[in-house]
């Protein structure tokens, strides 16, 4: 067990180092959400009626949008390892297979934490006025962390099956798309009924509603538990799926 932890630590160090040096991806994962936020707040926001300052409404959505981009680049780095020969070297060494995926997942969570912090900081500068107590902040951060962890394992799983880095980025496309179909940018009651069915039942909506409630004092209701259940369920399912897909990929 201590070996598994030591191997994972080494692989986490590697993935974080690689992530830091992949400057394009790093900048994209920070700049793109900032641009999206500016776009929604200054361009579309004025026309969207949410019953509150639009920036207070949209910040949780932007944070979730970030996780989508983060997941896409995680999937791509996993596929890069799978297709570059690195996986053969690692597998011919006496280390645990899942340490490779763990490295990418933890680096992904770290990258997301960084970009989320920057996005929240920028939002405050743009007029975001959260009313959360330290406890509510901690709860929001904890939920987001759980959700990002789940999404990162899902991305690692997609990365493990993708045949090329390009198809890994295509596979993770839907992760970028899901936030638009949620209550991230507009209240779901404004959508046509067939879309509302999707947007109210996809996992992102309860997560966003809960984070929004915790940060800005909007009532959460039972959405907090739904968000928690979704995140925990997604995490377990993604972890099992990713390790199974990894094993299937390397078994020939």
């Amino acid at each position: 067990m201590s070996h598994a932890i030591a191997d994972s630590m080494t692989m986490i160090g590697r993935s974080i180092r690689l992530g830091k040096r992949n400057v394009d991806t790093l900048i994209m994962s920070i700049v793109l959400p900032l641009l999206m936020m500016a776009l929604f707040v200054y361009v579309f926001g004025g026309a969207i009626d949410t019953g509150t300052e639009y920036i207070n409404y949209v910040v949780p959505g932007i944070i979730l949008l970030c996780t989508g981009y983060g997941a896409a680049s995680t999937a791509m780095s996993v596929t890069d390892d799978m297709t570059s020969g690195m996986i053969d070297r690692l597998r011919s060494m006496p280390i645990r297979g899942f340490a490779v995926l763990t490295g990418h997942v933890v680096a992904s969570v770290a990258r997301n934490a960084l970009s989320t912090t920057i996005v929240v900081g920028a939002a405050v500068a743009m007029g975001f006025r959260p009313s959360a107590s330290p406890l509510e902040w901690a709860a929001a951060a904890g939920l987001l962390l759980l959700y990002v962890l789940a999404l990162s394992w899902l991305a690692a799983g997609l990365g493990a099956v993708a045949k090329s880095v390009e198809s890994a980025s295509a596979l993770s496309f839907f992760m970028l798309f899901l936030p638009y179909l949620s209550s991230a940018f507009v209240p779901t009651h404004t959508m046509p009924s067939f879309l509302r069915g999707i947007s109210e039942h996809e996992p992102i909506t309860p997560v966003i509603e809960t984070v929004r409630g915790l940060l800005t004092g909007v009532p959460i209701g039972d959405r907090g538990w739904i968000a928690l259940a979704w995140s925990v369920g997604l995490l377990l399912a993604s972890f099992v799926l990713a390790t199974a897909l990894y094993r299937r990929r390397v078994d020939d």
Partner: protein, 307 residues
């Protein structure tokens, strides 16, 4: 025997890639698996290094069963694949330290080992540069260095010099010879007969998933016989006529017929007279000692022709 395989079989779908391979490698020797693309060389290496599972066969590496004790096998081998498995965004030193830590040398141990290997592979100046700035030869050297971090008993090298320029190839050969001096067993694959000839104690020729021949370089050359006379023609038709007349092995791509010879002027005379009588005159004639190319040609040529 440090590497043993008996009845090794592997198929992908209905295609048999390895069709009953037996091999033995003595400790401290260099064993070369020689063959064209698709002969099953890489599959053999992947199976012996625990990356791929065989369909059948008894396989042992350093006394461990490859299928039932993969973790033990991984502890005593290393693999250098066909494509340099190095992280381009890490420096040479970081790559080596990472492997050292994964091989449980501890942080100080991994650093010391990395420094020693950088020195040994002439990478000290480039040690703290990212690998993406390295030349192809430097990458291969780093790749090999990464395989040596834990001082493995058996090193599997899959086409270690494919794609390298002649100078880098020579450096690679020297590095491999150094390894042999330290008692490491080397199991390599190559498409280059010259490489097998220069490095290997024993050579196995693989063709279509079967063993076409095995032995020392001299054994294999002896199978082709004494000197060879190469006759180059200008048309495939002339080549066929000459082959019908004289026997030997034909290389249709280069339009060359290679026949056994005793190296005497009299034999050369007879051959040329026979050809003139049949109205096929070779454009060029050369004589040489048999090379592994001849062996290869002989073995693969025999494949297609019913005995």
């Amino acid at each position: 025997m440090i590497v043993e395989a008996t009845g090794l079989r592997k198929a992908y779908g209905s295609t048999a890639v390895l069709d009953g391979i037996d091999l033995e490698v003595a400790e401290g020797s260099v064993f070369a698996l020689l063959g064209p693309n698709g002969a099953g060389k890489t599959t053999t290496i992947r199976i012996l290094s625990t990356l791929s599972r065989p369909d059948a066969g008894r396989l042992r590496v350093a006394g461990f069963d490859v299928v039932r004790e993969p973790a033990a096998v991984r502890g005593v081998i290393s693999l250098t694949g066909q494509y340099a498995a190095v992280d381009a965004e890490q420096t040479g030193r970081e790559n080596l330290v990472m492997v050292g830590r994964l091989m449980r040398l501890g942080r100080p141990g991994a650093k010391a080992r990395a420094a020693a290997l950088l020195e040994r592979f002439d990478l000290v100046d480039a040690a703290d540069r990212r690998v993406k700035t390295y030349s192809g030869g430097m990458r291969r050297r780093l790749d090999l260095a990464m395989s040596l971090v834990a001082a493995p008993k058996v090193i599997f090298l899959d086409e270690p010099t494919t794609g390298l320029d002649p100078a880098s190839r020579t450096t690679m050969w020297d590095a491999i010879r150094d390894l042999v001096r330290t008692g490491t067993t080397i199991f390599l694959t190559t498409q280059y007969l010259e490489e097998a000839d220069r490095l290997a104690d024993r050579i196995m020729v693989l063709a279509g998933g079967k063993v076409a021949a095995h032995g020392t370089a001299d054994d294999l050359k002896a199978r082709v016989g004494g000197d060879r006379l190469d006759l180059r023609f200008t048309s495939a038709a002339a080549l066929d006529v000459a082959a019908h007349l004289l026997g030997g092995f034909t290389d249709h791509e280069r339009l060359v017929l290679s026949v056994a010879s005793d190296g005497s002027a009299a034999h050369l005379h007879t051959v040329l007279d026979d050809l003139r009588a049949a109205a096929v005159v070779p454009a060029q004639v050369s004589s040489h000692r048999p090379t592994l190319d001849d062996v290869f040609l002989a073995l693969t040529a025999r494949e297609g022709v019913p005995a």
